[in-house]
């Protein structure tokens, strides 16, 4: 293409005012795009709520596995794998909360509370895994279940608090 023609075309494009129709289209699309972006990003409470829900699911899974192990329904290998998978799920949720960028003081408080509860869950998982590993001296399977039950209660409390905001 002739360089002069290219420059003329560029100038024409840059200098052409948007037509009324395209301005209307842009005006309509901008709020829609904003709405989509807002919906995609979500608020701190929503993100915390999702993390709490996912962790709650992981804790419930771990508790079922421990109970089944206690009842002699699950092998040690299957219980250990289930606990590892549940812990991974809880860790993912914790990472998601940790990476949030709270906008105000209230959101910062929510994030802090959520991280405390999620850390309690991680401690519960640690006790549960230790109970599987130790035959003598360490925590028992019941201790592991108790630690996870406490974590579940804390998650329920947090869920209510976040839900009421």
């Amino acid at each position: 293409m002739d360089p002069g023609a290219a420059r003329r075309l560029e100038a024409k494009v840059l200098n052409t005012p948007a037509s009324a129709a395209s301005r209307k289209l842009l005006a309509a699309l901008a709020p829609a795009a904003l709405a989509v972006l807002t919906a995609c990003s979500g608020s701190t409470s929503e993100s915390v709520s999702t993390a709490v829900q996912d962790t709650s699911s992981a804790v419930a899974t771990a508790r079922i596995a421990l109970r089944q192990d206690l009842d002699g329904k699950l092998t040690r290998a299957a219980t250990a794998t289930t606990l590892d998978d549940a812990l991974k799920e809880a860790q993912t949720s914790r990472d998601a909360v940790l990476k949030l960028s709270p906008a105000g003081q209230e959101d910062r408080d929510t994030q802090k509370q959520a991280l405390e509860v999620l850390d309690q869950c991680a401690a519960g998982f640690a006790t549960a895994r230790a109970s599987l590993a130790s035959d003598t001296g360490g925590p028992s399977l019941s201790d592991g279940d108790e630690a996870l039950a406490d974590a579940q209660d804390a998650l329920d409390d947090l869920s209510q608090k976040v839900g009421s905001k």
Binding site: Q53, T82, D85
Partner: protein, 408 residues
Amino acid sequence: MKRLLGVALGILTAIGGFVDIGDLVTNAVVGSRFGLSMVWVVGVGVVGICLFANMSGRVAAASGRATFEVIRERLGARAGLANLSASFLINLMTVTAEIGGVALALQLASSVNYLLWIPVAAVAVWLVIWRVRFSIMENVTGLLGLTLVVFAVALFLLKPDWGSLAGQLAPAVPEHETFWTYSYYAIALFGAAMTPYEVFFFSSGAVEEGWSVKDLVQSRVNVLVGFPLGGLLSVAIAGCAAVVLLPSGIAVTSLSQVILPVAEGAGKLGLAFVLVGVVAATFGAALETTLSSGYTLAQYFGWSWGKFRRPAEAARFHLAMIVCLLVGLAVLATGVDPVLVTEYSVVFSAIALPLTYLPVLIVANDPQYMGEHVNGRAVNVLGMVYLVIILVASLAAIPLMIVTGAGS
């Protein structure tokens, strides 16, 4: 008597071979989140796969050639390439998911990390494809996969409130879910039931076993009896999840959660059965998808193919499968969650469905290949209805994936 045994074996293999990692995971996810409100989707998917697998088997038996080979010749290189691209990429994702599934099941049995099992699983798949006869390979994995019936047994042993379970059968969006997530998972479940590899494997397998028009009745019985019974297995998986996991607020994200209801209902014996079943189902599907990858590539490019030939006589076919296994291995070695790969593979299956099934419908109506065995009017009407369903599912899949954050 021998023929009757052959039919029975074919049906049992079809039941055992129906479920793969996609069915296992998607049905458990759906059961744990939506109860039994999506059983209708399994029904729609099973009728669809019966329709097109039967059509595909008929094409192979009547023409003596695999469906993909005929599609390439009948519709030309360009349409064949579109079909190849869609089905091959989905196949590759499914191979990856199935090998990951085998490794996850072996981890559950041994507590050895699944990443260490992945190369073992891939080498085992390659060895079986290289050395074992087609019929033995298909029958052994299919029959071992039948142990997944333990899901149905466990469902009875769990003694659920059958009335309340039956009440969930009506299509309805649960209170805590949205219409969009419901639609997204409906498409995933549909894609899991109708994965494209099944049709290509079925027709290429017919050529491997040397089917002719005389075998059409057996093929029809295998599909029309075996697949719906396999569909009932899928419903049992969802039912177990709905009874044990849903009330506890557990949304399935891992294979270890899928087996918990069986252990709850049937104890360690049930656990042993389900682990054998999961390994057999995923391993069998890994064989099928790897072979399907080789079949589609070889049939498109006109290479010599088939397990009925010695590997030296179909070198490019075998090399293509080795490359596919290595690609799957490389993807899994990155540490990507095999369950996540599975979830995406079933949705992408749904997206690719029109490119797979439209050519099958066209070829099955061509008297030049089919002779007197062309589709009847009723089959064509049903085929057209399914094409519309497939098209809608295919178009809606990606927007729904974006809107729902992949169903989260």
